[in-house]
Amino acid sequence: MIKKMKSSRFTGILFVLPSLAGVAIFILVPFLDVIKRSFTSVMAGEWVGFSNYQAIFTNGAFQMAAKNTFRFLIICMPILLGLSLAISVCLDKQTKFGQLLKSAYLVPMAVPVASVVIIWRVLFHKQGILSGLMGMLGITAIDWMNSKYAFWVLVFSYVWKNVGYNIVLWMAGLSAIPGSIYEAAKVDGASEWQIFYKITLPNLGKVSYTIAILSLLNSFKVFREAYLVAGNYPHDSMYLIQHLFNNWYRELSLDKLSAAAVIVALVITVIVLRLSNVFYGEEKG
């Protein structure tokens, strides 16, 4: 019996090994080198302690990029989560066209970044379609991508691409709530809002953590659109941490790049660990 257990432990590792080897070779081991580099100078490779970290935290570009990225997450995540939840609650009650509408919301997910870029140029050009619409309301043309609105274009872009994905996620959560609870509440004379707050929301708690993690993951991808539309140095309001990494890489500021990579990796680790009880809570079963 004990022998069998041991062999089963061994097989588990064997299944994981090919993937783990690749991950170790291409990311984990070199990342150790990056950690080492974050404590050394770029030219001589001497030990410099925390001075690279000091350098990035006092760096204006880093502060701006970190602030923008943080602001982006704080603003776009609630918008996306709220909007997609609202839509899926409405969609959940529609029997007709439900599937078709869901597909329509999912389409932007499949649109390649290069096509998105062309769409953005036509929509958000100073004389573009959006300005045209605004013109009808008597608002003068705005060069959306080169003003403080650039940030909002990015938010819009993120919500547009991910709303369908999140709707499907929420609807999965909604379908897991037993209908009998709703029936009981209705019998007790609860209003629709009461049902939403007292039944729907609390029952979605667990799902919403996973949705938050996946939304966060996807939020880092807006950089592609931002980069292809506006290049290395976009309007200040949409200068993200990824732009900064890119620029440091091109300028070979590898000391700063290493230190910043370690910091971002740490931040992500903290976020994931805080949510990991959710992942592991689900794993048991």
Partner: protein, 280 residues
Amino acid sequence: MKRKLILILLIILAGLICYPILFLVSGSFMSSQELKENLKPLITDYTDTYISIGLIPIFPTLKNYVEILLDSPEFFVMFWNSVKMVVPIMALQLVAGVPAAWGFAKYQFPCKKVLFTIYIILMMMPFQVTMLSNYLVLDKLNLINTHLAIILPAGFSTFPVFIMYRFFSDIPKEVIEAAKIDGAGAIQVFRYVAIPIGSAGIISAMVLSFLECWNLIEQPMTFLSDQSKWPLSLYLPTITPETAGSAFASSIIGLIPAILVFMAGQDYLEKGIMASAVKE
């Protein structure tokens, strides 16, 4: 009544969401004359007119597509480059990722939790954070400026493992036990139980991977200095009123494989998205 009102709102919203794609499609069939007229505000200093693209071309034409498909050899090279990268990446994700997801889902071994947490953390990392690590090892292996520099790191992405893991953990213990009692070994259980039952998960992970790989931007730009090796995702024609037609057509051609894969896999994808959200 109220339900109908909501339905109408939902349909309007769907229209808004799909509108940008529709005008792209419509624009790709417009004659150069019509596009020039529509996109005039792009270059000149008009301040009283705006870009407008109707959803139905007045004189539909295939000229833009012919131009791209017959007169733009670089477009084909890039399309082919994309295929040369996407196929091996996905193959590698299957070969390495499927067993890994199975191992994580159904076996106990030391450090499993720590390892899986590391996988999740790696999945979350934007490319820029691991860019330098990738570069260091690719440089050492002399792979910079080859397609392998893109294929290898992406092939070991941990995201598909995460998606497939969810599906595999859903397979009831009893099914596996039954197979074992019938004398199936670990490999046979994997081959004849895990893969067929978890196929929805595998397909949905692959659809998501395809959409990801078809859109690789940062990796090829960083690791491929030779532009003749760039994938289609980096084919970015400038749009002026004169060239807009072929720009629209090329972006539609780039969109077609993504839409096809997306439609073919949508049911699985939905199941996949769902499985990652709901786990009893």
